[in-house]
Each structure stands twice: as structure tokens, then as C-alpha cells.
């Protein structure tokens, strides 16, 4: 049945390599559990992710043959991770800084402004909105101001 099948130029991994990596992964698992009992504050997360990344890399490069195969597969793998990181990071620009928008202070148009020369100095304390920690915009209406054109 396989008379003319071309021989595969596949890398055939060695059993020794697989077992060694397996032991290394066991060790790293123990390490990460141990490290979780050491209180490093925010660095606990960094260490945990770092060790996980190392373990994941070992599985990907050795067990999944990414080290030995066509580099296209490695590119695909890395691209997936990069895209995911991109999604999370860009969204964090919103979710982590959401509270900032509640600190905006509305400033009324000053007298002589190009947009609204007549508005002048009508604005009083109503224009000075204070940042409300519950997030309500207290600058919603300034009845003294002339309406927008």
C-alpha cells in the first residue's frame, strides 16, 4: 500500500527528551505551588505567569515539535497569543481607567470666547462642578448659560 510514499522528513523525537521534559514540567509545577505561599505582592502574579509560560513553551516547543518543524506553525502559535494579548491590553485601557471620566470638571466658556462671546461671566458656582465619587455628572445643566447654537 505504501510503495511509493515519499519518506517523511519529520523529526522523530527521542523518548529520553520527552521524559526529561516531563520531569521538568513536574518540577516546575511544584515550584509554582511553592511560590504561591511566598508573599510577593503583585509579583506573585508575575512569577506564576512566568512559570506557566515556561511550562507552556516546553510543551509547545518539544511535545508539539514547534522547535523542529516548519517555522510557519510557530508563527501561527505566536500570532494567536499576541492577538489575545492585544485584545486584553487595549480593553484594559478602558476598564482600568474608567473611573477617570468621573473626575472631569466642566468649565464654562470664558468671556470673549470665540464660540460664545455673549456667555461671558454668567456662570457662577453652578459651572464649577465637583467630582462626585459616585460618578454623577453634576455639570449637566447650567441654566445661566446661553444654549448651544
Amino acid at each position: 500500500m505504501t510503495t511509493e510514499a515519499k519518506p517523511r522528513e519529520e523529526h522523530i523525537g527521542s523518548v529520553k527528551t520527552y521524559l526529561t521534559v516531563g520531569v521538568a514540567l513536574f518540577f516546575l509545577t511544584g515550584l509554582t505551588v511553592a511560590m504561591s505561599f511566598v508573599h510577593l505582592g503583585p509579583f506573585n502574579l508575575v512569577v506564576a505567569i512566568g512559570i506557566a509560560a515556561l511550562k507552556g513553551s516546553l510543551v509547545a516547543l518539544v511535545f508539539m515539535h514547534l522547535y523542529y518543524d516548519d517555522k510557519l506553525y510557530l508563527t501561527i502559535f505566536i500570532m494567536a497569543i499576541l492577538m489575545l494579548a492585544f485584545f486584553i491590553v487595549l480593553t484594559l485601557f478602558d476598564t482600568l481607567r474608567r473611573g477617570d471620566i468621573y473626575q472631569e470638571v466642566a468649565r464654562p466658556y470664558s468671556s470673549g470666547s470665540v464660540m460664545n462671546p455673549a456667555a461671558g461671566s454668567d456662570t457662577t458656582a453652578a459651572g464649577q462642578s465637583s467630582a462626585d465619587s459616585t460618578g454623577s455628572h453634576s455639570n449637566a445643566t447650567q441654566p445661566e448659560q446661553t444654549p448651544q447654537p
Binding site: E10, P42, Y73
Partner: protein, 212 residues
């Protein structure tokens, strides 16, 4: 023209092209799996950033012993599936079957351990979402941690189950002598899938069980 092997499909010009294409297809599929799970990692990230203390308090109710055991079980299953592929690369049918069977068994152990964990959570009232009734976690909306936990481990568990089924099918086909040292692509692709399932757990484990 010399006879082409029976497994060569008509639109490929040779076996090597077919096998490389199959592998490429599987890697693209793995990319989509990474992004699928990625959404759940994102879910985790945003809510942990918003409620770090709650996450810390809630995670203490996860069983680190079982979690660690499960991690070791999955790593071992990755080793055995790699050894299974190694065996078929040398044409050793019986050895391949042995390693495949071991992988499937280890996967089963993983699911049993997970089931034990879930049962314990349910006993305490730590159900998903609006059914959550446990009062022992301090912080805002502790049920959200468990929502993250169940969705991540649940989706992962489904993938383990599917992996078990595919591995079983590979075991059957090996037994039926469909594979040889020249042709073992399906087992290789199954192995790739299985390794990804392992990698995902490698990240899930510290994020859920070992919040610092």
C-alpha cells in the same frame, strides 16, 4: 506511474504535501481555540483587576491539592501521547495502543477529580450565577469568581472530554491497523490538540488556584 498510497487524496500531488497541509490546518484550528479560550482569560483579567480582594478571598475555597494533582495528571498525559506518536513513528502498533490507552485513562482521571471538586462546590452552595448561595466569601459579588471558574474549567473540561473521544477513536483505528510508520497523521494531529488542552490548563491552574 507508480501506485499512490490509498490514503493520498486526489487533489494532492504527493503524500508529503497532504501531510504538511493537514498539519497546517490543525495549527490554524489550534489558533482559533487559543482565541476562543482567550475570551475567558480576558473575562478573568478584567474582573480580577476590578475586584482583586474578592478574587483572593474566593480562590481560597478551591482545592489546591486536587488542582495540583490534575496538573500533574495532564502533564503526564501529554508525555504519554507524545510517546504514542513516537511509537507509531517506529511502527510499533501495540506500544502505540498502550500509550494511547494510558492517555485516555489519565484524561478520565482528570475528569473524575474535576467532578469531585464540582460536587464539593455544589454541596457548599457555590453554584453558577444566580443560583449561588454561599455566604463565606468576603468582597463584592463573589459569585463572579465562581462564574469565571466554572466557565473556564467547564469549557476546558468539555475539550478534555472531546479529546478523550478522539483519542479513543485513534486507539480503535490503530487497533484496526490503519496507521503505520509512513502514515500516522491523524494521531499526530490529535496529539497536537491534546497538548494544547494541556497548555491551557497550565495557565488556568495558577490563575485560579494560586492567586498570590
Amino acid at each position: 506511474m507508480a501506485e499512490q498510497p490509498g490514503f493520498l487524496q486526489h487533489h494532492f500531488s504527493d503524500v508529503r504535501q497532504q501531510q504538511e497541509t493537514a498539519k497546517l490546518g490543525m495549527w490554524i484550528f489550534l489558533l482559533t481555540e487559543i482565541l476562543l479560550f482567550g475570551g475567558l482569560f480576558a473575562f478573568y483579567t478584567f474582573y480580577r483587576a476590578w475586584h482583586p480582594e474578592m478574587f483572593y478571598n474566593a480562590h481560597e475555597h478551591l482545592n489546591v491539592v486536587i488542582g495540583t494533582a490534575n496538573t500533574l495528571v495532564l502533564i503526564a498525559s501529554s508525555v504519554t501521547v507524545a510517546l504514542a506518536i513516537n511509537a507509531i513513528q517506529h511502527g510499533r502498533r501495540k506500544q502505540t495502543m498502550l500509550f494511547l490507552a494510558t492517555t485516555i485513562t489519565l484524561a478520565g482521571v482528570f475528569l473524575v477529580l474535576k467532578g469531585i471538586e464540582y460536587a464539593e462546590h455544589f454541596r457548599l452552595g457555590q453554584y453558577p450565577g444566580k443560583f449561588y448561595s454561599y455566604t463565606g466569601v468576603e468582597g463584592t459579588n463573589p459569585h463572579i469568581f465562581f462564574s469565571v471558574y466554572y466557565t473556564m474549567t467547564g469549557l476546558h473540561g468539555i475539550h478534555v472530554l472531546v479529546g478523550m473521544c478522539v483519542l479513543s477513536w485513534m486507539l480503535y483505528r490503530t487497533w484496526r491497523n490503519h496507521f503505520s510508520a509512513e502514515y500516522y497523521t491523524p494521531i499526530e494531529l490529535t496529539g497536537l490538540y491534546w497538548h494544547l488542552v494541556d497548555i491551557i490548563w497550565i495557565f488556568l491552574f495558577p490563575l485560579l488556584y494560586l492567586v498570590g
